[in-house]
Subunit: 432 residues, 2 copies
């Protein structure tokens, strides 16, 4: 049993001063507002529920600060990304993902949704354990001390009506039923839940969509990140990617559309009416020159908003939340398109990852806490309510995951995360 | 005499490995590439020339994390800003600006352009020293260990054809010639240069523009930050703000247009052909919902690009540089609109502040150095050349200004900058 006292904390109804929480067996058993610290462990600053990183490709971290030399587009970036994907194996991916998930823990991320598609050996051969790569990711998250939703991704085509390419062979199970059989062998644990993903309407043929959509759990899909995807879909099927997914029965409250950048107003209505979630990845969408998606319109239409760091150009949910709001401001000329409370909601949205009980400081919820300092050069003078518009991940002091202190005074249980990242990337780079 | 050794450093022609520099009397006297460290002091990571923050309103730092509660626009934000401006006096402004300039030093800023318009007592009465506020800013920068260009700002009207308002009285000298006489009494020192500013075409009547433009030194002007400014100018004068400035002889290589967000293609041509600088303030332009300006077009037309943190929603030139490039990517769908070298050029552009000799690691230049770590959770794995697209100000280890180590191991000579900021803001808040 541990008691924590928070000078202020985000409870389900908003920011509250003087909050004392009791943690037993990894869950909150008491939450009392207006309390004195007594003998509880005092956390500094403002305390948030755990952050959920709803969209991650862990290995893309290896591309950070390496793809800006020669201009290009999303599509030329993808060539670099395929080269890196080609170097992974279960051993080096464990090292890399563990370091990336530790970086996430430092940034207050207590649960990550890994959109996982590097399933097989580079030539497409199955590993002895056909889920060796997924199991490496699960172990990486466990060692880094955070929860994982493994969104096992169906990836069958190189484009609409196109064969899988050489570099994509390791992504493909060849057939949607073979994919489904492999995924059925993945077993959840207390720290791990299993979800499914349609890579995109480019990579999953129309006839296979319903099979993935029948998965009993969270379903994610890359949706309309680039205009070229829309163009290809309209040409092949005479409808937008959103409409195609709707027609296949793939929209609904268990589904999350990732990016949702280039949408028609009808697409927005389809997503909102079906309560399909929208996961925005604003720092990636800026880095990859995707564009600014209609986040406010999606939220107003009925889509719950979540956030992801995706390719990990940065791993900082505070910067993601801020970039979400900044995108809105830049495209509308209005401030406060999302209130601070709504931005907190997006940073802590666990439902799309299949952990609906998490992301809340409330009795019965997993005991996840993120303490952000209010006295750093960045945050001094901010109101507790608005600090998320000024802080960065380096202002995070303490991170508790299921009652365990994974980060204390800004230091992760595994030690120097910069060194872990550097060492892991050196191993991956030396591969092949 | 001090020798430093840099594993890699940005020299005028690009990034170079193994650079040894000698500093004597505050300037570089030797710069040798491909050197061994020998007995020189080793700096970590990548070493940049000093960063220039070309646009600052120091007191706006007091608004950080305090104006996001209720939506609104640039104009409702301005009301909050006027309330804060009303609380300043020379004593509390010294405290606040010293802390803000120390925050800038931590962020690698070795020279700041302060666009200064809070000249007089709140009712417009002159202080005994009519430049008391400007002198407070000069002292603040000196104590924080950075260079200052005091851009003394002419502010005479509450809008085109409008009287100055109650809250604006302390900004105004009443008459452009009175402004000029006051500014003529400001004297440069080794750490201080004097420039002039036209607040905007809203605040300086057409007939007064040429007088400010005749100032012998750098001239800055807020230009087309908001569509409403353009509308008012077109209505009153039948021309854009840029054209109005051109007609008054206020454009040219000594002039810097700040923001330059909402421009016509003719405006861009006027600015570029005259080699008027363009100072973008991307984090402010996002925060205040201004929009994304045509930075690449301005650069291509002939305008040197500089960067400013303006209202200090953040103080982080690395984030400004990244946001400049991200804005370009978001509006064009292309990556690499500015190369890393161009972004370094913008972060270190001192010419618009009247220090053309600074911002270069070269013999004869002021010995300003900024060392950015390559082994943090944010920067591990980045190439030295591209680290500016991943690092934040917290990755800055050492900052040398004119040969003096103002920041060492991330700690400023004045100590805990978060505490200095908090204390100064408490004093300002208690005023009146």
């Amino acid at each position: 049993m541990t008691d924590y006292w928070c000078p202020s904390a985000w409870l389900p109804d908003g920011l509250v001063s003087g909050v004392r929480v009791r943690v037993e067996n990894g869950v909150f058993t008491e939450v009392s507002a207006g309390s004195e610290p007594g003998d509880a462990t005092r956390l500094p600053g403002v305390v948030f529920p755990g952050f959920a990183n709803a969209h991650s490709h862990a290995f893309h971290r290896g591309l950070r600060g390496r793809t800006h030399g020669d201009g290009g587009t999303f599509w030329t970036w993808r060539t670099r990304m395929y080269d890196l994907a080609g170097r992974l194996d279960p051993d080096n991916y464990l090292l890399l993902a563990r370091a990336v998930y530790a970086e996430m823990a430092l940034a207050g991320i207590t649960c990550v949704g890994e959109f996982h598609y590097v399933h097989h050996a580079p030539d497409g051969t199955r590993y002895r354990d056909p889920n060796a790569m997924g199991h490496a990711l699960a172990q990486a998250a466990r060692e880094a001390g955070i929860r994982l939703t493994l969104l096992d991704t169906c990836y069958l085509a190189g484009g609409i009506g196109q064969e899988i390419s050489e570099e994509q062979r390791r992504f493909s199970d060849g057939d949607v039923h073979v994919w489904a059989e492999r995924v059925a062998r993945l077993a959840p644990t207390p720290d791990l839940r299993i979800g499914a993903a349609i890579h995109s309407v480019r990579a999953v043929p129309r006839a296979a969509l319903a099979t993935v959509a029948a998965f009993d759990g969270p379903i994610h899909v890359h949706l309309s990140e680039q205009p070229a995807e829309n163009d290809a879909c309209l040409t092949a099927y005479g409808r937008t990617p959103t409409q195609l997914l709707a027609d296949a029965g793939a929209l609904g409250p268990r589904t999350t559309a990732v990016h949702a950048t280039h949408l028609t107003s009808h697409d927005i209505a389809l997503l909102g009416e079906s309560h399909t979630g929208a996961c925005l990845c604003p720092t990636t969408e800026a880095d990859l020159a995707d564009g600014i998606g209609p986040a406010r319109e999606l939220a107003d239409a009925g889509s719950p908003i979540s956030l992801g760091s995706d390719q990990h150009a940065v791993v900082d949910m505070l910067l993601e939340a801020r970039a979400l709001e900044h995108g809105e401001r830049l495209r509308t000329g209005q401030r406060g398109r999302f209130s601070p409370a709504e931005l907190v909601g997006a940073m802590t949205a666990h439902a799309s990852l299949g952990w609906p009980e998490a992301g809340r400081i409330a009795v019965g919820a997993p005991a996840d806490l993120v303490a952000v300092r209010l006295d750093s050069p960045r945050t001094a003078g901010c109101t507790p309510e608005q600090v998320l518009l000024a802080a960065t991940a380096t202002d995070i002091d303490t991170v508790v995951v299921g009652g365990r202190e994974v980060v204390r005074a800004g230091v992760h249980i595994l030690g120097d995360v910069g060194r872990l990242l550097g060492a892991a990337m050196a191993v991956v780079e030396a591969a092949r």
